[in-house]
Symmetry: C2
Subunit: 142 residues, 2 copies
């Protein structure tokens, strides 16, 4: 079976709009040369990502130095989907008294997980990329 | 607002069943100390993950030495979800003539992306972990 599906590149405004509309993303971090993926509730301010965690998670200052953050939507029926990936640097903003940290902590961040998500982090994007899989007709030619 | 949601650990059989039922997962790899997240169609044989890519992607033998692979389902309305994460080593099986490589290349792997996904890879799990977020009642107490 082959397909003439097309993988299109999303524009920066499209990526920002999709980031703004999401509530759950996946953070990839590196710990001892090993990648880890952690789903998190998040809020986006432009391309800056904000999330909260508990004190005892794998997410620390060290592991957040270089991160990737991904949001996607999958449509199983149409065999389509989009994905936006932010690469950047993470930093804790729990106690930051600068105007930006205070502003980011005031964003609406709806956390589904149990209580105790007392630490706030931001990811400042260095690059934002997105792709959209446009479904194609399937050809059952083999 | 607080919540009494509970984050439960999934058993190994539960993780394997959820891996078996999925068709799209997210691969996390490390390239030059930077994590990347790549959505892929996959098939699971137990806890071994199989996927295909085109020749010119970021996925290479080097970047697949240590990987994480994640599958999840998010229920926005119920504020619930589950996530299964495989940690392990990736290897190319495109040309492997051993019985396992041949068997894995015969799995039903429904790839939505454009043609040319000619390289086959496996991820052999060293650990499989999963979590289920049981939604709780919300208390608007602040």
């Amino acid at each position: 079976m082959t397909t003439n599906a097309i993988l299109e590149t999303l524009s920066q405004p499209e990526c920002a709009a999709l980031l703004a509309g999401g509530s759950v993303g996946r953070l990839a971090i590196v710990v001892d040369d090993h990648p880890h993926i952690v789903p998190v509730n998040y809020a986006a301010e432009g391309t800056t990502i904000v999330f909260r965690t508990a004190a005892d998670t794998i997410l620390t200052e060290a592991s957040l130095r270089r991160v990737a953050f991904e949001v996607d939507a999958i449509d199983e029926d149409r065999r389509a989907g989009w994905s936006v990936c932010v690469h950047g640097d993470g930093a804790e903003i729990t106690h930051g008294v600068d105007a930006e940290s205070r502003h980011l902590r005031e964003l609406f961040l709806d956390t589904w997980a149990p209580e105790g998500r007392d630490r706030w982090f931001k990811v400042v994007a260095s690059t934002v990329t997105g792709r959209y899989l446009v479904p194609g007709a399937r050809r059952f030619d083999r």
